[in-house]
Amino acid sequence: MAVIAHDPSLPTQTHAEVTRDVIKTITDKPTTGYYILAGSMALLTLVLFGTLGALLKYGLGLAGYAPPIMWSIYITTFVFWIGIGHAGTLISAILFLFRSPWRTAVYRSTEAMTVFAVMTAALFPIIHIGRQWLFYWLIPYPNQRFLWPNFKSPLMWDVFAVSTYLTVSSTFLMIGLVPDVAAIRDHVSGWRKKLYAALSLGWTGADSQWRHYSRAYLYLAALCTPLVLSVHSVVSWDFAMSIVPGWHGTIFAPYFVAGAIYSGIGMVLTLVIPLRKVLKLDHMITEYHFDNLAKLTLFTGSILFYAYGMEYFIAWYSGSTFEQTTFWRRAFGPNWWAGWSMIICNAFVSQLLWFPKIRKNITSLFVISIFINIGMWFERYVIFVGSLANDYIPYAWGQINPTWADWCILAGSFGWFGLWFTLFYKNFPIVAIQEVKEMIPMPRRKAHGGAH
C-alpha cells in the first residue's frame, strides 16, 4: 500500500471527495464567462447553418472552388475533425485495454471530444456535395428505381466508417457515463435528479450489475480499438485509392492514423488545460497526466516526421515526373507557405517535447497544442488542395481563392463543436467518478496487505 501511495497515477483523495469535487463542477452556478462562451459558440453555430443555407440556395459556387481543385476547405476541415476524434477513442479504449493508469482522469473529456468532433465532421460530407438534398442516395435503401450505391467507391466506405464510428463512440460514452450519472442522481435534487435518474437506466451498483457492466465495457473497448484504427485508414483511402499524384500513396493509412491521433491529442491539451483550471480539477488532472499526453504527442509527431520524409523520398525514388512535380511544388510552389507551416508545426514543433522541462510545463504545452491544431489543418490543406492544384495535365493546373463561404463554414464548425462540448462539461462529469474510485484503495479495519 505504501508503495502504491507514491504512485503518481493514484488519486490522492477519498471516495467521498471524488464524488463531491466532481458533482460540484455540475451543481456550481455557471459563471458569466460560461454564458459568454456558450453564447458565442451558439452564434458561430448559427453562422454555420446560415452559410449552409446559402450554399443550398445558390450552390457550392459560393465557396472558392476553382477547378481542378474540386475538394478544398470543406474536405480539409472534414478530415481535420475526424482526426481530432481519434485521440479520444485511443485514450478511452486502447489505453483501457493496456490498463494504463493515467487515462482515468482525462478519458471522459477526450471521449466527449471524440463524439462531438465526429458529429462535426459528419456534417461535412453533406455540406460539400453539389446536391446536398440527395445525400440519402448514398444509403443502401430499397427504392423504386432498383438502384444501389457503388460499394467500390471509397466514399461509400467513408459513409459506413464514419457513421459506425459516430454510433459506437457515442454508445461507448453513454455506457461509461451510466454509473456516474447514477452517483449524481443520488446527490442532486430537483429537475436534475429526474434527468439523471432517467439517464442512469436504474443503475444501483449492485454486484449483479457490475458483473455484466465490466465485461460489456471491456468488449466495447475491444471493438473500438480496431474501429479507431480503421476509420482514419478508410478516410485516408478516400485519397490513396485515387491516382492523383500526392494522394496515391501506400503509407497513407498509418500516416493518417498517426496524424489523427497527433492532432487529437493536440486538441485534448487545448481543451483540458483551461478546463481543469475552470472546473478546479487540477488536483485530479495533474502534471503527471499531461506528461504522459506529451509523450504520446512526441511519439505520433515523430511518426509524422518520418512520413513526411518518406513521401519526399518516394517521390524522388519513384522517378515519376508527376509525383516529383507535385512534391517540388508542395515545398516551392504557389502553396509553399502552407507546405512549410505543416512541416514546421507538426514535424519540428513536436520534437521540442523531448525536453522534460517543456513537457512538464503546462503553458508551453498549451502553446504547442495550438501549433499542432494549426499544423494539422494545414497538413490536410496541403495534401488535398496542393496535390489537386497540379496533377497530370499542365494545361488544367489552377489555384483556389477561398471566399467567405469557406471561412464561415470553417469557423462555424468550431462553434458547433464548442457548443456541444461546453454544454457537456457543465452537465456531465468531466472526470469519470467510478473509474477514479476504482483506483482508490478502500479503507480497511485490519492494516494488512489486503486481499491481493
Partner: protein, 1005 residues
C-alpha cells in the same frame, strides 16, 4: 415549363407558336427536375416537313462574314437549334467555323429589337408601329431629293441590287461597306496585272506556302475554304506534307501553324518578299532578276533582322518542288506599304510560276467599294450635303477609327436610319431604326463570289415582329411613288422569285419551280467559276520602288491591331459562345488585351494583367497586358472586335477598341491599320485576365507529341522516333507490371459477362490527327451548341469554371532564351477510358461504363461529390457550381437549346459524351429500318464542324470503320499512356519539318 416564366418582353402565345409543341420545346430548361403541369399546344395546321421530335435540316447561307458559307440549319419543332455546314457547298463542304455557328446566337440574341424605334425629344428611343415607321422613312426619303445615301454591308445579292437600283432611282449614293475590305491587294493586282479583282488561292495544291502576315486560317479571306485546303496539303498524308513559312511581326494562329516563323519588323515584309523573288528569279533565269538587283538577300537581310542564308534557303525551298504559294494583304500588314507588299508578293508568285496554278483569278471574292468611298461619303455628310442616310447591316461607327471624326460627320446628317436588329454603335446614333429580319428568318440570297449563289429561306417564324428591309423598301416605294414607283413587287419574296425566274430563263433551267426548289434544297446554285485568262504583267509592274512605310507618332512601339478570331470585325462581340470560346493563342476569354514581347514587358516592368496606357497622336486607351513571346519587341499587338459603346449586354463597354489609336485622315484608298506608333505608360492598375490555361508548357509529359517528317515518312511510332532522335529509352514495365495490366483486361472480360454487358455491343472510339488540327476552335463552339453547354461569364472563368467539354490545349515550346517559339495544339475531350478512374470512385454509379464502351455520366443520378473530376487525369469533367442553366440562357436564347440533350442542373457533374444523343438517334433510326448503324452515319458535333477534318469517330469493333484506319496509323498514341487508363481517343502525332535529331515537342514518355 420555361414558357410559364416568359418575360413580358415577348408574349407567351407567340412563343408557343414559334415552338410548336411547347411541351417539347423549351421545357428542356427544367433540367434535372420533373416539371409539374405543362401545356401541349398543337399546330393549327401541321407543317408538312416538321415531325415533332425529329430534326429537319434547311439549307441556308451564313452571313457572319463575307465568305458566304453554306449552312444546314437543324430545326426542331420549327426552331433552329444548330447551324451546320452544308456538305454540298463548295466553300465549306459541310464544315463551319466558330463564328458561323455562333450566328444562331444573333438569331436568338436577347438584345434584339422587338419593334421599330424612333428617337424622341429626350434623345431616347420609343417603340413605334411599323406603318408609322415606314411613313416616316418615306416622308424623309421622298423629300430628300437625292441628298440621300445608303451604306450597305450586305454582300452582292438580289437585295443589294434592289437597294442599289432603288437608291439610284432616288438619286442617292450607294456605298458597299466592308470593314476588312482588301483594297490594298486589289491596288497591287492593278499594279501587277492591271486587274481590279481578287484571286482565290489554292492552298491544297501548294507544296510550299509563305504567308506574309496573312491570317488565312483566321480572318483573312474565305477562311474555312482556305483551312480545308491548308489541312489537305499541310496535314501529313502519304509520307509527305507541304511546308509553311510565316513572315511577320506577330505569330498569329496562322503563324502558329507554320513550320517556321521569320520575325521581321513591322513594315519590312515587302523586302523579304522581294529578296526571295530576286533569288527565285535568278534561279529560274526570269528577266525580273535584273529589276530586283536592289533586293539581294545580302542587302535586305540586315533591315529585316534575318541572315541572308535564311533568305536563300527559304527561296530555294520555295521553288524546290511543285507549285508554291505566297500570300499577303491581311489587316496585320495593312501599313502604308501594304500595296508595295502585295505587289512584291504578286511578283514573287509570278516569278515562281504560281499564277494560274495556285493563284487563280476569275472566281475571287466579291469586291466592295472600300474605305476610300466610305470616307468620302462621310466627308460629304460632314459637309452637310446629305439629308437622309440609311445604314444596312453595317456598323461603321464602330469599324472606323474615332480619329476620322466619322461620328461627328454622321451627326450632321438630318435623318439617320439603321436596319440593325440590335442597337449597335451606329444604330444608337440614328433617328429611326427599322430592325431587319435575321438571315435565318428571311428570304434572301448571296453571291459571295462568281459561280456561287447561296439562298436564304425563312427557317423559323420571326422571333420578334420585325420586317425584312426588302419589304420596307417596297412599302416605302409604294408610299413615295414617282421615281421608285417601279419597285412594286407585292413583297420582297415575290421580287426575289421574279429575279430568279429571269435567271432560270436565262439559264434555260426549264421548269422554274423545280429549279427554284432545287436551289433552295441545295442551298444555292454552284457553277464552275467563269474561267479567266492567265493574267500578264503590265508594263509598269516591274518598276519597284520600295519605301519603308511611315508611322504616325513618336512612340517606341508600332501598334498592330488584328482581327480577333472570335469577334472578327466586332459583330461577334454580342455572342456569349464567342466570348467564352477562348482566343486560340492567348486563351483569354471575355476581354481584349495588348500583347507585349517579354523583353518589352521587362523593359517597362509590367506583368500580365497590369493595365497600361497606350498613347498615339490619335488618342489613348488603357488595356490589360498579355506578355507574348510571339510578337516582335518593337510591336504591340491588339485584337479588334471589342470596346463597343452599344450592341447589347454582352458587348457594351467590354474591352477596348484598338481603332481608337489609329489615324484615318490620310488619303490611302484603304484603312491603314498598322500606321501608328504608340508610347506606353504603366498605370499600376491590375485586371485579372480570364485565361483558361494553367501551365502553358508540357513539362515533357508528352501531351502533344510530334515527330520529324523524315521519321513519320518511315512509318515510325512517336516513341521510336523519340529514341531514334537519340533520347534515353523510357522505363520498361516489369513482368509483374505487365501481368497486372493484363489482369485488368481479364477482369474486364469477366465483368462483361454480366447483365447488359453480356450481349454484343459496338465500341465507340475517336481519333484526332494533330498534324491537321490548326487550333481554330470551331469544334469548341460546335460542342457548346450541340450539348447545351452553358456560358458562365467572365467572373466564373476567373475561377476556371468554364464548362467547355472540349477544349483546345495550347502549349508553348521554346520561345525562351533566344530559341524560336513554337506552338502546339490538341483538342482534349473526355477520353472515354476503358479503365476510367472516374467511374469506380462515384458512390452512386453516376459515372459508369456503358456496354458500348462509353464513359457514361448520368446527370440526374449525380449528387456532386466531384471525386470523379479529382480522379480524372485529363481533367475533362466540368461541374455546375451555380445555377448556370438559369443564367446562361436569357430568353429567347433558351430557344437554341437542343431538346435531345438534358440541360444540367446546379450541383451536377457533366462532360463530353461523344454526342451520345446522336449515337442513340442513329441507333433508333437503324432499328426502325431493321439494320445496323452504318459507319460514318454518326458524326460527333466537333468532327462535323472541323474544317481541317482532324477528327474521326466510329465503332472500333468494325474492321471497316474509317476510325480504325486512323487508329492503326503508326503515329497514333494515347495521352498519359503510363496511367494505363486505356483511352478510347487516339491522337496521331504532329509531324514537323525539322531535322530528325531535334527533340520532338513533348517527350514520348
Amino acid at each position: 415549363m420555361a414558357d410559364e416564366s416568359t418575360t413580358p418582353s415577348v408574349d407567351r402565345r407567340h412563343f408557343l407558336k414559334v415552338l410548336g409543341v411547347s411541351g417539347v420545346g423549351a421545357a428542356a430548361l427544367t433540367g434535372c427536375s420533373t416539371d409539374r403541369v405543362t401545356k401541349l399546344v398543337p399546330y393549327l395546321v401541321q407543317s408538312e416537313d416538321q415531325v415533332p421530335g425529329i430534326a429537319t435540316n434547311y439549307a441556308s447561307t451564313c452571313t457572319e462574314c463575307s465568305a458566304g458559307c453554306g449552312l444546314h440549319v437543324r430545326t426542331r419543332e420549327g426552331r433552329p437549334v444548330k447551324l451546320e455546314g452544308n456538305p454540298e457547298h463548295p466553300t465549306n463542304a459541310g464544315t463551319l467555323c466558330a463564328r458561323g455557328q455562333a450566328g444562331l446566337q444573333s438569331l436568338y440574341n436577347p438584345d434584339r429589337l422587338k419593334a421599330p424605334m424612333a428617337r424622341n425629344a429626350a434623345g431616347g428611343f420609343d417603340e413605334i408601329k411599323w406603318d408609322d415607321a415606314i411613313a416616316r422613312l418615306a416622308a424623309k426619303v421622298g423629300s430628300a431629293g437625292g441628298k440621300f445615301a445608303v451604306l450597305n454591308g450586305y454582300g452582292p445579292s438580289t437585295f443589294t441590287t434592289l437597294l442599289q437600283d432603288w437608291t439610284k432611282a432616288l438619286g442617292g449614293t450607294h456605298v458597299a461597306f466592308e470593314p476588312f475590305a482588301r483594297e490594298a491587294e486589289r491596288a497591287a493586282n492593278q499594279k501587277t496585272w492591271g486587274r481590279d479583282d481578287l484571286p482565290t488561292y489554292d492552298f491544297a495544291a501548294a507544296t510550299h506556302i509563305i504567308s506574309f502576315g496573312a491570317d488565312f486560317l483566321e480572318t483573312w479571306g474565305p477562311v474555312v475554304e482556305q483551312q480545308r485546303g491548308f489541312a489537305a496539303s499541310h496535314g501529313f498524308h502519304d509520307g509527305t506534307m507541304s511546308r509553311h513559312v510565316f513572315v511577320g511581326p506577330r505569330l498569329s494562329l496562322t503563324g502558329a501553324n507554320a513550320d517556321e516563323w521569320l520575325m521581321v519588323p513591322a513594315g519590312s515584309e515587302a523586302q523579304v518578299a522581294l529578296a526571295i523573288a530576286h533569288v527565285v528569279a535568278e534561279r529560274k533565269g526570269h528577266p525580273l532578276a535584273g529589276m530586283l538587283m536592289a533586293y539581294m538577300p545580302e542587302t535586305v537581310a540586315k533591315d529585316v533582322g534575318l541572315t541572308s542564308q535564311q533568305l536563300h534557303d527559304l527561296a530555294d525551298a520555295f521553288i524546290a518542288s511543285g507549285p508554291s504559294l505566297a500570300v499577303a494583304g491581311a489587316v496585320p500588314t495593312q501599313h502604308r506599304g501594304a500595296v508595295d507588299l502585295c505587289h512584291a508578293v504578286n511578283l514573287l508568285n509570278e516569278v515562281a510560276g504560281n499564277v494560274g496554278k495556285t493563284v487563280l483569278f476569275g472566281a475571287g471574292p466579291a469586291v466592295t467599294d472600300g474605305f476610300g468611298r466610305t470616307r468620302d461619303l462621310f466627308a460629304s455628310m460632314g459637309r452637310g450635303e446629305l439629308q437622309v442616310v440609311l445604314v444596312h447591316e453595317a456598323n461603321p461607327l464602330y469599324a472606323l477609327p474615332k480619329s476620322g471624326k466619322f461620328l461627328e460627320s454622321f451627326k450632321k446628317v438630318g435623318f439617320k436610319v439603321s436596319t440593325a436588329s440590335v442597337l449597335d454603335d451606329t444604330a444608337a446614333q440614328c433617328d429611326l431604326i427599322l430592325p431587319n429580319l435575321h438571315s435565318l428568318e428571311r428570304w434572301d440570297d448571296l453571291r459571295p463570289r462568281p459561280g456561287i449563289t447561296g439562298t436564304l429561306q425563312p427557317v423559323v417564324e420571326p422571333i420578334f415582329p420585325v420586317m425584312h428591309t426588302g419589304d420596307v423598301l417596297l412599302k416605302v416605294s409604294k408610299a413615295i411613288g414617282g421615281a421608285v414607283a417601279g419597285f412594286n413587287a407585292a413583297s420582297f419574296e415575290e421580287h426575289l422569285k421574279a429575279e430568279w425566274q429571269k435567271r432560270a430563263a436565262s439559264g434555260k433551267a426549264g421548269d422554274f419551280d423545280s429549279y427554284w426548289r432545287g436551289a433552295l434544297g441545295r442551298g444555292g446554285i454552284y457553277e464552275a467559276a467563269p474561267a479567266a485568262a492567265k493574267p500578264a504583267l503590265v508594263s509598269g509592274a516591274t518598276q519597284i520602288t520600295f519605301t519603308k512605310p511611315a508611322f504616325d507618332g513618336t512612340g517606341d512601339y508600332v501598334l498592330m491591331p488584328y482581327p480577333s478570331s472570335m469577334y472578327y470585325d466586332g459583330r461577334g462581340a454580342n455572342k456569349p459562345w464567342l466570348h467564352e470560346n477562348p482566343d486560340p493563342i492567348t486563351k483569354i476569354t471575355w476581354q481584349s488585351w495588348v500583347e507585349l514581347h517579354p523583353d518589352t514587358a521587362a523593359k517597362l516592368d509590367v506583368r500580365e494583367g497590369e493595365i497600361v496606357e497606350l498613347t498615339s497622336p490619335h488618342g489613348s486607351i488603357r488595356s490589360q497586358v498579355y506578355v507574348y513571346a510571339g510578337v516582335h519587341p518593337g510591336v504591340l499587338a491588339m485584337p479588334l472586335g471589342l470596346g463597343h459603346t452599344a450592341y447589347g449586354r454582352y458587348a457594351k463597354d467590354r474591352g477596348v477598341n484598338a481603332l481608337d489609336l489609329i489615324g484615318a485622315a490620310d488619303s490611302d484608298t484603304f484603312l491603314p491599320y498598322v500606321s501608328t506608333k504608340v508610347s506606353v505608360k504603366t498605370t499600376g492598375d491590375y485586371r485579372k485576365a480570364a485565361r483558361v490555361d494553367g501551365e502553358a508548357r508540357q513539362l515533357g509529359r508528352g501531351i502533344v507529341q510530334s515527330m520529324p517528317l523524315a521519321y513519320a515518312a518511315k512509318g515510325m511510332t512517336p516513341e521510336e522516333s523519340y529514341k531514334a532522335a537519340g533520347h534515353v529509352e523510357g522505363e520498361k514495365n516489369t513482368e509483374r507490371e505487365l501481368a497486372a495490366i493484363e489482369g485488368f483486361a481479364e477482369d474486364q472480360a469477366k465483368a462483361t459477362q454480366y447483365g447488359d454487358y453480356a450481349n454484343p455491343h459496338p465500341k465507340w472510339g475517336m481519333a484526332v490527327d494533330l498534324s491537321r488540327c490548326t487550333g481554330c476552335s470551331a469544334c469548341v463552339t460546335a460542342c457548346y451548341a450541340e450539348n447545351n453547354i452553358p456560358t458562365v461569364g467572365e467572373e466564373q472563368v476567373f475561377r476556371r469554371r468554364e464548362m467547355s467539354w472540349l477544349r483546345i490545349e495550347r502549349y508553348w515550346e521554346g520561345g525562351e532564351a533566344g530559341e524560336p517559339l513554337a506552338v502546339s495544339f490538341a483538342p482534349v475531350m473526355c477520353q472515354h477510358c476503358d479503365n476510367a478512374p472516374c467511374e469506380p470512385v462515384c458512390p452512386v454509379y453516376a459515372a459508369y461504363h456503358t456496354p458500348d464502351g462509353l464513359n457514361g455520366q448520368v446527370y440526374n443520378r449525380c449528387v456532386g461529390t466531384r471525386y470523379c473530376s479529382n480522379n480524372c487525369p485529363f481533367k475533362v469533367r466540368y461541374f455546375n457550381w451555380l445555377k448556370y442553366n438559369e443564367v446562361a440562357f436569357p430568353e429567347p436564347l433558351n430557344l437554341q437549346l437542343n431538346p435531345d440533350v438534358t440541360v444540367r442542373a446546379r450541383g451536377v457533374m457533366e462532360k463530353c459524351t461523344f454526342c451520345i444523343q446522336r449515337i442513340r438517334g442513329a441507333q433508333n433510326t437503324a432499328r426502325l429500318e431493321d439494320r445496323e448503324v452504318r459507319d460514318g452515319e454518326i458524326k460527333t458535333a466537333c468532327m462535323q464542324s472541323c474544317p481541317s477534318g482532324a477528327l474521326s469517330f466510329g465503332n472500333v469493333k468494325d474492321p471497316e470503320a474509317a476510325v480504325i484506319k486512323w487508329k492503326r496509323d503508326p503515329r497514333g498514341y494515347h495521352m498519359l499512356e503510363e496511367t494505363n487508363v486505356r483511352p478510347s481517343v487516339t491522337y496521331l502525332a504532329r509531324v514537323l519539318h525539322q531535322p530528325p535529331v531535334a527533340t520532338p515537342a513533348g517527350e514520348a514518355h
